[in-house]
């Protein structure tokens, strides 16, 4: 994981553009089983991070990630804010300044656990965790970025047939089945964006 300021700035811009592109789609997913705001929430968060990208990119990677998490928490609100915020903040707090792959995988694991604690949720609840868990497993197994991206996407699609047990969708019971979870979808979009960038740019 060697990411310099230019990489970070580029990644922030790419993630922001990706969310912007799929904003309406994420809200449509959220309309089906939630309250229809997930696209707007994520866009607001990514816009806030983008606005601070220079200050963020100037930080060492761990501090930068923590800062991104904090900006997300303080700008998104809703369920997505604390969840994405916790993920990034825990990742930043746990990483050494120059993490190797093993350190990154272990820290990611702890960050995902923190997200689960924050949401009082676990695997199979039909949330973004259903993307985060398999992604973390692939990272731990040293999978190639392209493979991780594929895994994220199929994990998001797999939430479609799950019965929601957390978040607003849980109130729908059986009626939540048959719709992809919006948080899982945004998580797959972001994972894919990051992985594709790493595939192109980062040292193998």
């Amino acid at each position: 994981m060697q990411l310099d300021a230019a990489d970070l700035t580029a990644l922030i811009a790419l993630c922001r553009a990706e969310i912007d592109l799929h904003c309406e789609h994420l809200s449509v997913l959220d309309s089906a089983i939630g309250d229809g705001d997930h696209g707007a929430n994520m866009r607001r968060g990514l816009e806030a991070v983008y606005a601070e990208r220079e200050a963020i990119a100037a930080l060492p990677l761990p501090a930068a990630l923590e800062k991104i998490g904090l900006v997300l928490v303080m700008s998104i609100g809703g369920a997505a804010g604390p969840l994405y915020g916790t993920l990034l903040m825990e990742l930043g707090r746990g990483l050494p300044d120059a993490p190797d792959a093993a350190a990154f995988a272990a820290t990611l694991g702890r960050a995902v656990e923190a997200v689960a604690r924050r949401g009082r949720s676990g695997p199979g609840d039909k949330t973004l965790l259903d993307v985060l868990y398999p992604v973390q497993a692939e990272v731990a197994g040293r999978a190639a970025p392209a493979r991780i991206a594929e895994c994220a996407q199929s994990a998001a699609r797999a939430t479609e047939m799950m019965l929601a047990r957390r978040g607003r969708a849980s109130y729908l019971g059986e009626r939540s089945v048959g719709h992809e979870d919006p948080g899982a979808s945004s998580c797959a979009l972001l994972t894919t964006t990051i992985c594709l960038y790493l595939k192109e740019h980062a040292a193998p």
Binding site: E24, S27, V28, S31, I33, G34, D35, G36, D37, A40, N41, R44, V73, M74, S75, I76, G77, G78, A79, A80, G81, P82, L83, G85, T86, R118, G119, R120, D125, R165, R166, G167, R168, S170, Y171, L172, G173, R175
Partner: protein, 329 residues
């Protein structure tokens, strides 16, 4: 969906500005505009702080004032506020006795208030009461319980009166948790909601349909049915409420009919009359009532019924004087 607004982005902020201007004797902006606060705090009183997504007006700002809330944090439409808003509210309204956070039971709201509470733990005594009054969903094995809906104002009024008389944080927490099993609400929608800037309605109802068991975010409810008569609608939402409440002698029933934003007073009073008749036929005689538009889902058409069975003490606290933009007696 047409709205009186300049843009979806500015809707909440411009509405709050108008609200504060209209009620400047009672309410002010705090924290550089990040929350609304009681203009005159009462030193030594536990600070009662609530909040939630925008689109539920007059909740929570309308209930700021003597005998009710000290601060209200509002997020974007249907999006809980962020921890920095809640932190700012605690910093500005805690006068020494600590803060009680009144939170509607949604994962997003609970998580944001919890994060704020964790961040503020070094400098404030904080406790939290989670409102979960929606009779449409029982707490299932793994879910996080009932949603918080219009019953929120009962919790805020009763805790507000108790805080005003000087109850400490622990007593307020006990009071709030004690009330919870005796407070239930259920709603029906006749027309769905479109989140501003979204192209589509969150849920769309056909011209002869209604949605039973809706929440206050335009999210789909328990079941979709053919539009029925008001008598039948009232039965459909009052029966589950009664089923879940420990009806008993000595408890004082409080009945609230709440409009979701697009329902006119003529229909709300009609619904109230029928709900009251339904309850009285079941032996439940409301001692106090409230009919109006208190907890909305933007301009959703429909209403909810809330029934609270209050103890003698809770009833006295409900009746205690209050001076807020919406409730005043």
């Amino acid at each position: 969906m047409k709205r009186v607004m300049n843009s979806g982005q500015t809707l909440v902020a411009e509405s709050l500005a108008g609200f504060v201007a209209a009620h400047e004797d009672l309410v002010a902006f705090g924290g550089g505009g990040r929350f609304l606060r009681r203009r005159a705090l009462k030193p030594g009183k536990v600070a009662l702080i609530s909040g939630g997504g925008g689109g539920h007006e007059p909740l929570h700002g309308g209930f700021i004032g003597t005998g009710m809330l000290d601060a209200a944090c509002t997020g974007h439409i249907f999006t809980s506020p962020t921890p920095d808003q809640i932190l700012a509210a605690m910093d500005e309204t805690d006068t020494g006795a600590g803060c009680l956070l009144v939170v509607k039971n949604y994962d997003g709201d609970v998580m944001n208030f919890e994060m704020a509470a964790e961040m503020a733990a070094p400098r404030h005594r904080i406790d939290m009461v989670v409102v979960e009054d929606d009779a449409a969903y029982g707490p299932s094995v793994r879910s996080r319980g009932r949603r918080g809906v219009a019953g929120t104002i009962v919790v805020e009024k009763i805790l507000g009166a108790a805080a005003e008389r000087g109850d400490d944080l622990a007593a307020l927490k006990t009071l709030g948790e004690g009330l919870s099993p005796r407070l239930r609400s259920m709603g029906v929608a006749l027309r769905g909601v479109t989140v501003p800037d979204n192209a589509r309605e969150t849920f769309a109802l056909g011209s002869d349909e209604m949605e039973i068991g809706v929440g206050i975010h335009g999210e789909p409810g328990l079941s979709r049915q053919r539009l029925a008569s008001a008598d039948e609608i009232v039965r459909l939402i009052c029966a589950p409420i009664l089923d879940q409440l420990p009806v008993a002698e000595g408890l004082h029933p409080l009945l609230i009919v709440n409009g979701f934003g697009g329902t006119p007073p003529i229909e709300l009073h009609l619904a109230y009359g029928l709900a009251r008749r339904f309850l009285e036929a079941e032996g439940v005689m409301p001692r106090r009532s409230l009919v109006g538009t208190f907890v909305t889902s933007l301009d959703m058409a429909g209403f909810s019924v809330t029934l609270a069975l209050l103890t003698e003490e809770e009833f006295a606290l409900w009746c205690a004087p209050v001076a807020t933009p919406v409730l005043a007696w």
